[in-house]
Symmetry: C5
C-alpha cells in the first residue's frame, strides 16, 4: 500500500488548478496511442508527440486516445487546450492521489478510477490511476504507465462485427470500466485465496509469521475497499448521466456491471470478516497454548520440587538423625518418593491436566 | 463454504454475455422435466433433449420446465433462443456465482436465488443456484443438480383441487420461493441446534476442539447470512412487480413469506451473537483456567522452595556448624519446616487461593 | 430461553395456511372465557366448548372472548369459521413462534405480541404468545396458557364507571397492550436488579460462577430485546390504523404507551451495555489477578533459588574447599544469605511489586 | 447512578393516569415560590399551600410558579385542576423516572427534562427531574427538591431592563433550558477533568483502583448520555412549536442552545472513547507487565536452576567421584558456574530480555 | 490535545451574548491588518487600534480585515458595533471552544472553523479558532494568534492578474477555506507518516514506548476527526448559500474543496483503523512473546528440576545406600542424567517448543 496522501507540501499554498504532477514517475517517456474506428474501418497509431497526431479523417469515426505517463505536464496542458478541458480536471489527471469520481459537463464526462493488480510476488495490491474523458466522438484515457489490461479489449475492438464497433463512445466507456471491475474481482480472488489458506494455520500453528500475514492481508483488503468503494458510486451514477452518451441498449450492461461491483464489495467484506475472525482465533489459540505450556511447567515443578525437598532433608548433616541409621531407610525413602509422585499425578489427572 | 468468487480468470477479458459455465459440474447429463397443467388436467414428461419436448397442447395450460444441470451451455443457448431470453440472463444462469436478485422484463421475470441444505455429516451448509424465469404461461427453473426439495411441491400440484392448480404462474413462483425459504429456516434450525449445544461446553471444557467448532459454525452462519440477505430484498420486491404475474389474492401469502424471511434473518442474527458471546466466554474461561494453573504452581513453589532452602543449609559441610551437634536439632528442624509450611498455607488462604 | 425456531420440520413442504400447532402444549384443556359488557351492564361466562357460547344479547355490547390453550386446532378452526378469519391468521395464531406484528384488515385488526414473565427461581425470562383480533364489537384473545396478568384489567372492567367501560374496543385493545408493556418493564426491572448486583462481584471476586451469571443474563437480555423490539413498531403503528377502532381520546394514552416502550428499550440497552462492561471488567480483573499470582511466585522463586544455590555450593564434597575450614564461615555464610535476600527484596520494592 | 426503573410494581395493573409518586422523597415539605413580573414591575412570594396564592394582579403580568417537592400528590392534583392539565401530564410530573420529552397542547407546552449536578465528593452525577408547563402567561416548574441552579436566573429577572423582562414566557422557558444545558456542560467538564487525570495512571500504574475508576466514570458518562441525548431532541423541537410561545427574536438564542447541546454530546462521546481507550490500554499494559514479571522469573530460574544442579552433583556421596579428590576442583567448579551464568546472561541479552 | 470544554464556570449563569474571552491568551497585543483591493489596485495597512483604520477609499474595493488576538473584548465590541454584528456572533468569536459552523444572515455569512498545525517536536496537533465574517465588500477574519498560513494567499493576492483579484468576496472566502483544508491534509500527512512508521515496530518490538505512541497518535487522530468533521458539513453548505456571495464560476472550485474534505476524512479513517489494528497486533504480539518466555522457563525448569532431584537422592546420608559403594556408580549416574535430559529435549521438540 502506498502512502495515502502524496507530497501534499508540493501544492501547499499554490493556486487551485496549477498543474503539478503528484505521484511516482513510473516510465521515462510519455506515449500516445490512437485508435480511430467506426463500423467499417479501424486505424491504429502510436506517437511520442501530440502535434504528430493527425485529425480524425472520417466524420463518423470514434477516436480513442490513450496517454501513458502523466509526468509530462506540458503535454497534458496541450491536450487540455486542444479539447478545452477545465483546469481543475487537468489538475485531477496529473494528481494521482485522486478519489474515484465521475463529473458531468455539457458535452463530456470525466471519470477517475483506479486500476488494481495483485502482485503475487510481493503479495500486495498495486494501483494506478486511470482518468477517462469521454466526449461525443472521442475518449481520452490517461494512465500512469503502459498497462496491458486493455489488450483483450483492443482485440475485441479490432473484430469488425463486435459490439464495440457497433456502438457509440458510451459503450466504449462501459467496456473500459467493465475491464477495470473484472480486474478488481481477479485481484480480490487472488488475495482471497491466500486468506483462505491461512484458515488452518491460525488454529494449528499460530506463530508471528501468521500474525504478520494476517496483518498484511488486512491492510491490502482495506486498501482495496478504499479503492473500490467510491468506484461503486461512480458506476451507479453512470447510468443516470444526462449527456446523450449512454444509449438505451447499454443500460442492461451497466446493471450487470453494478452487480459485479456489489459482488466485489461483498467478497471484500467477507474476507475482511474472515481476517478479523482469524485474528481473534489467533489470539485465543495463543492464550490456549500458554495454558498448555503452563500445565507442563506446573506438573514438572509440583512433582519434583517436593521430591527434591524430601531428598534435601536426608542430605542434612544433623548429628542425630534417627532415620539415617535404619537399614531399610533408603528403600522406605524411595517408597515415599514414589507415593508422593503418584499422588501428584493422580491429583493432576483429576484436574484434567493430563 | 465454497470459494466465493469462482474461476474469474475464465471470463477475464471476454465480451459480456458470453456463455461460460462457472461452477462445479455436479451431474453427468442434463435432464429436462416438464409439467403441463391447468385446473382440470396435468401431464408430466421427462426428456434428455430440448427438441424432444412437444409444444403446449392446450391454450390455458401452464408449463413448468425444470432444467437440471447447467454445464450443457448449448442446451441453455437453445432454450434461450426458443424463449428469446437476453444473453446477459443466460450468462447469469450458467455462472453459478450469482448474487440472488430479481429482474423485471416486459412480459417475464427473472429470479436468481440459492437453495441451501445443511449437510449434517460434514456439519456444513451446501448451496446450489436456482434460476427462475416466469413468463405469462410458463416457468423455467434452472438447477445445478437434481434436488428433491420440490418433491412435496410437485405432489401438491398433482392434487386436482389444490391452490396451485387454481392459480396462475405467479402463485407457482411464490410456492417455489416459499419452499426455498422453508429450507432456509430448516438449515438455520439444524445449525442453530448445534450452536446451542456448544453453550455449556465453552464454559466447562474450553479446548481447541470447541474453538474449532465455534469458528466453523461462525463461518457457516456468515455464509448463510450472505446467501439469505439479498434474497430478502428479492422477496420484498416480488410483491411490487408491475407485470401482471402477481394477482391480488397472492399478496397476503407474499407478506407471510416476507415474515418468514425476517424470522430467518433474526434467527441468524441471534445465532451469530451467540457465537460471538461463546468466543468471548471461551477466551475468558481460558484466561481464568490459566490463573488456576498458576495458583497451583505458585502454591507448590512457594511452600517447597523455602523448605528446600532450609534443608540445603543443614546439608552444608561447614566444619563449625553449631546446630548440627545439638541432639534435638533434627526435631527442631522439622518443627521449623512445618511452621513455615503452615505459615505459607495460611498466607495463601488469606489471599483466597485455596 | 426456548429454542428460537420450533419444529420447523413439521410444516416443511406443507401448503401455507395449514393449521398445525407449533409450540409446547402447556395445559390439558382449552378454556373459553367471555366478558360481555357495555356502559351499564357486564356479564361473565366460562365454557369448554365453542358451541356452548350464546350470541351477544344486547346491541351495544362489547364481547371479549379469551381462548386459553392453542393445541385444539379444531376449535381454532371453528372460531375462524364463525368470525371469517383468513387461514394465514389462524396459522399464525397456532404457530407460537411468530414475530410480534400488527395486520390491518377491512373491519378488524390482528395483533401478535409476547407476554413475558421473569421466573425468579430459574432466573430466566419466560414468554407466551398472545394473539389479539379486534373487530367492531368484539375482541378475541388467544393465549398459550391461562395467565393471570390480565386479572387487574378484568377487575377494572368490572367497575361500572371505569374508563374501560366508557370506551370502545380500541381502548380495550390499548389496555391489554398497556398491561403487556407494564409486564415488560417489570421483567426488565427484576432482571436489571440482578445485573446491578453483579457489579461489585466482578471487580472483587471474578470466579467462573460470576462469568456464568453474566453470560446467562446476557442471553436473557438479548431474548427480551428480540421479543420487545418488534413490539415497539407494533405500538407505533397502532395509532395510525385506518379502521375506526382507535378514537381521538385514546391517542394520548397510546403516546404514553409508546413512551413506556421507549423506556423499556433504553433500559434493556443500558443493562446490555452494563453486562458488556462487566464482561470486560471480568476479563481485565482476571488478567490483573494473574499478575498478582505471578508476582508472588517470582518473588519467592527469585529470593530462594539463589539462596538454595549458595547452600548447595557448601554442600559439595570437594576435598579441598577452603571456606569450610574457617571457624566463622557458617556465620559469614548466613550473612551472605541475608544480604542476598535483602538485595532481592529491595529490587522488588523498586519494581513496585511489594 | 440510581436504579433506572423505579418501583414499577407500585403501578403494575393500575389504571393509566393514576397519581402515584415514584421516586425518592428528598424534602419534607412542598414549597411554592411565585414570581409575577412584567416590563416595569416584579413581585415575589413564597407559600406552603396552593390556596394561599393570590390571582395575578395585572393583566400583562407573567407568573412563574415553582413547586419544590413532588410527593404531595394532592397539591399536584389541585394545581392540575386549577390549570386544567391532562391527567397523563400530572402522572408524568410525579413519576420521576420520565424520559425527557416535549409535548405540545392547544395553548400550553409540557417539557420534562433532567437537571444534573456532579457530586465531587462521591464522584458521581446526580439528577433530578424538572417538569415545565408553559402557558400564555404562566410557567409552572415542578422540581424534586429545592435546587439553587436557577438562582442566577432569578437575579437576572430582578434587573428591570434585562432581556428576560422584555420578552414573553417563551424566552423564560428558553432561559430555564439554557441554565439546565449550562449545567450539563459544567457536569461534563468536571467529570471529564477526572477522566483526563486517569490518562497517565493507566499507562504507568495500572492497578485495580484505576480499573475501578474507569468503570465508575464509564457508568457516569453513560448515565449522562442517556440523560442528555433525549434532551437534544427536545431542544430541536422547541424551535418548531406551533403555539405562539416562541417569538422570532428568540430563534437565534435557541440555535445557540442547540449548539451547546451538540457540544455537550460531542464532549460526552469524546470522553466515552477516551475511557474505552483507557480500558484497552489498561488491559494491554497489564499484559505487558506480566511479560516483565515472567522475564524476571525466567531469568532467575534459568540461571540458578542449572547452577544448583551442578552444585548438587558434587554434593552426592558417591564413593568414587574422581573430581572431588583433585586439589583445584573447587576453583574449576566455580569457573564452570560462572561460565554457565555468563552464557545464560548472554543468551537473555540476545533475546532482548535484559 | 487541549481541554475540550474550557472554563465553562466563567459563563455559568451569565446572560447569553455576554462577551467573555474563553481560551488561552496566546499574544500580548491585538493587531489589525487591512488589505484593500480591486482589479487594478491593492493597498496594505497594519494598525493597533480600530479607530486608526481609514474608510474604504474606492467604491469597488474589497476590504480584508484580519484581527489577530481575541482577548481584547472591547475592540471586538467596537468592530461588532461598526459592522452591526449580532451579539451571539461576537460571543462565538471570543469563545474559542466553538464547533465549526456556518450561519447565514441577510447580507453576510458567519463561518467558524479551526486551523490545525502539526507540531513535529511535541508530536501533537495544535488548533486555533478562525472566525470569518463575509459581507458584500468586506471580509473580517478573527484569529487567536498571528498565523502565517495565509502568507502564500496574500502573495497570490498581490499579483495583479490573479484569480483572487478578478473575483468577489466569495472567492476570497473560498481561498481562505481552501488554505485551511490544505493545512488539514498536510497535518494528516505528517501524523500519518509517523503512524506508518510504527507498523513494523509493533510486530517486532512491542514495548510500552510503542503503546504510548499508539495511544498518543490515536488521541491526535481523534482530535483531528472531531475538528475536521463539522468543517465538512460547513463546506457542503457554503455552495448552497442564498446570499449572492458565491457566484457561478466558483462552484467547481467549491466541489474541488469538498473532494479534499472527503479525502481528508477518508485518510483520517484509514489512519484510525491502522492504529486500531496496531493496538490489536501489539496486544497479540505481547501475548505471543509471553508464550515464548514461558517456553524457555518451562524447558529449563523441566530439564533441570528432575536432574537436581536425582542428584539430591545421592546427596542423602543414608547409612545403607547400596548404589554409592559401587565403583562405576558415578558414571552410571551421569549416564542417567544425560538420558533424562535428552528425553526431555526430545519431548519438547515433539511439542514444537524448540
Amino acid at each position: 500500500m502506498a502512502r495515502l496522501i502524496k507530497q501534499r507540501d508540493l501544492v501547499l499554498g499554490k493556486s487551485p488548478g496549477s498543474l503539478v504532477f503528484i505521484g511516482n514517475q513510473k516510465i521515462d517517456f510519455t506515449t500516445l496511442r490512437i485508435i480511430d474506428y467506426n463500423k467499417s474501418s479501424l486505424e491504429e497509431l502510436e506517437r511520442l508527440h501530440f502535434h504528430d497526431i493527425p485529425d480524425i479523417s472520417l466524420d463518423d469515426n470514434i477516436r480513442w486516445l490513450s496517454i501513458y505517463g502523466l509526468h509530462d505536464t506540458e503535454l497534458i496542458d496541450d491536450i487540455g487546450g486542444y479539447f478545452t478541458i477545465h483546469p481543475l480536471i487537468l489538475e485531477d489527471i496529473v494528481n494521482t492521489g485522486q478519489r474515484p469520481k465521475i463529473e458531468e459537463y455539457d458535452d463530456h464526462v470525466f471519470v477517475v478510477i483506479k486500476i488494481v493488480r495483485f502482485n503475487a510476488e510481493e503479495q500486495k495490491v498495486n494501483s494506478d490511476q486511470l482518468s477517462l474523458l469521454a466526449g461525443p466522438d472521442y475518449l481520452l484515457s490517461f494512465h500512469e504507465q503502459p498497462i496491458d489490461v486493455f489488450k483483450p479489449l483492443r482485440e475485441r475492438l479490432r473484430k469488425p462485427k463486435s459490439r464495440l464497433r457497433e456502438n457509440n463512445v458510451g459503450y466504449l466507456l462501459y467496456a473500459i470500466l467493465d475491464t477495470v471491475v473484472d480486474n478488481y474481482l481477479a485481484a480480490i480472488e487472488s488475495l482471497g485465496g491466500r486468506i483462505e489458506d491461512l484458515e488452518d494455520m491460525v488454529l494449528e500453528d499460530p506463530d508471528p509469521e501468521v500474525l504478520d500475514r494476517i496483518t498484511k492481508y488486512k491492510r491490502e483488503i482495506n486498501f482495496l475497499r478504499k479503492t473500490i468503494h467510491p468506484a461503486r458510486d461512480l458506476v451507479m451514477r453512470i447510468g443516470r448521466l444526462e449527456t446523450g452518451l449512454i444509449l438505451e441498449p447499454v443500460i442492461p450492461f451497466l446493471k450487470d456491471l453494478q452487480d459485479h461491483m456489489t459482488q466485489a464489495e461483498e467478497s471484500l467484506e467477507t474476507y475482511r470478516e474472515m481476517l478479523t475472525d482469524q485474528l481473534n482465533t489467533y489470539h485465543t489459540t495463543v492464550s490456549y497454548k500458554l495454558n498448555d505450556i503452563m500445565k507442563v511447567l506446573t506438573i514438572f515443578a509440583a512433582i519434583f520440587i517436593p521430591l527434591t525437598f524430601i531428598a534435601g532433608i536426608y542430605g542434612t548433616n544433623f548429628q542425630y538423625l534417627p532415620e539415617l541409621q535404619f537399614k531399610y531407610s533408603y528403600f522406605i525413602f524411595w517408597a515415599i518418593l514414589i507415593l508422593v509422585a503418584l499422588g501428584m499425578l493422580r491429583y493432576f489427572k483429576k484436574k484434567g491436566w493430563l
